[in-house]
């Protein structure tokens, strides 16, 4: 079994009002000096065998992310090799 992680983030130029709301809340915790908060999504997929990276990229491009507004990165965490 192999785990593949797809990290999806709004493109830098796309406004992230959720991140903004969190940034605005941080001073209530006494934390100042945070200049930006951006919120993304981590998607973990588990495959029976070792998946083709091209397949995962296609899934990310067509469904998991919307390339019009989001960037994505596909990674295979090394710990899954040992597990």
């Amino acid at each position: 079994m192999a785990r593949v992680v797809v990290d999806v983030m709004l493109k830098p130029e796309i406004l992230d009002p959720q991140g903004q709301a969190v940034a605005d809340a941080l001073p209530r915790l006494g934390v100042t000096g945070v200049t930006s908060v951006r919120i993304g999504r981590r998607i973990e997929l588990e495959f029976e065998g070792t998946p083709e990276l091209a397949t995962v990229n296609e899934l990310a491009d067509r469904l998991l992310a919307n390339p019009v507004i989001e960037d994505y990165a596909v990674t295979m965490p090394p710990e899954t090799e040992a597990a």
């Binding site: 709004l10 130029e13 796309i14 406004l15 009002p17 959720q18 709301a21 469904l63 998991l64 919307n66 019009v68 507004i69």
Partner: protein, 225 residues
């Protein structure tokens, strides 16, 4: 004229859309998300709601519903297709319209009667309006902020593909106050507010929305005549 209204799991406004079609003088045809054909309809409406729970992103999963293959083929073939609210999100996810709809800038769900200016009467869904006519139509959405890259926005404006703009306050932070856009051919239109809720003063703030549906009939009559 037969106008299909697609019901996805989680669609809310399919019945109102069908009612609007009937008010406009056409026959509404119920289409199901799992249908593999369009039952011979002349035009298609993707209604508002929360298709497939709007999981992942609004419209992202609905875009891969079996019926969407036929809808995309029909859209590319020139059939009038109108996406309202969630339907607009589905059309953007399906790349039948440019851009995307994102979380409202102020993070609040916005539900109010909204003034719009009809900026293009050249589409299959707006030809019954006058240029720059102002209409009052309800909006109810949490993810209605239209975004696209500046080049796309410029192109849309230059080609007259901005169908409607918000007037009297932008309800969601949409770029350039955009409430609706059309594809290049003008047969596919997406609109965030709900014209199907403004066809009878008993149930809506105006009857201004009816024009979207009569436009499609006018367009179809012109095509076949």
């Amino acid at each position: 004229m037969r106008i299909g209204v697609v019901t996805f799991p989680g669609s809310l406004d399919d019945v109102d859309a069908a009612r609007a079609v009937r008010y406009a003088g056409a026959e509404p045809v119920a289409l199901w998300h799992a249908d593999d054909n369009l039952h011979g309809v002349d035009a298609i409406i993707l209604p508002g709601g929360f298709s497939y729970g709007d999981y992942l992103r609004c419209g992202a999963i609905a875009r891969f519903a079996p019926v969407m293959e036929s809808v995309a083929d029909a859209a590319r073939g020139g059939a009038p297709v109108l996406g309202i609210c969630n339907g607009f999100q589905v059309l953007c996810e399906a790349h039948l319209l440019p851009g995307a709809l994102t979380r409202n800038q102020h993070l609040h769900f916005r539900n109010r009667d909204q003034r719009l200016r009809i900026e293009s009467t050249a589409t299959a869904w707006t030809n019954a309006y006058d240029q720059d006519q102002e209409v009052l139509i309800p909006i109810k959405s949490g993810e209605g902020r239209y975004v696209a890259d500046p080049a796309t926005l410029d192109e849309l404006e230059a080609a007259g593909r901005v169908v409607a703009r918000y007037v009297g306050g932008n309800p969601n932070g949409s770029q350039r106050d955009i409430a609706g856009v059309a594809n290049e051919a003008g047969n596919v239109v997406g609109l965030m507010p709900h014209p199907e809720h403004a066809i009878d003063t008993l149930t809506g703030p105006s009857t201004d929305g009816l024009g979207f549906f009569t436009s499609a009939l006018k367009h179809l009559a012109g095509v076949s005549g």
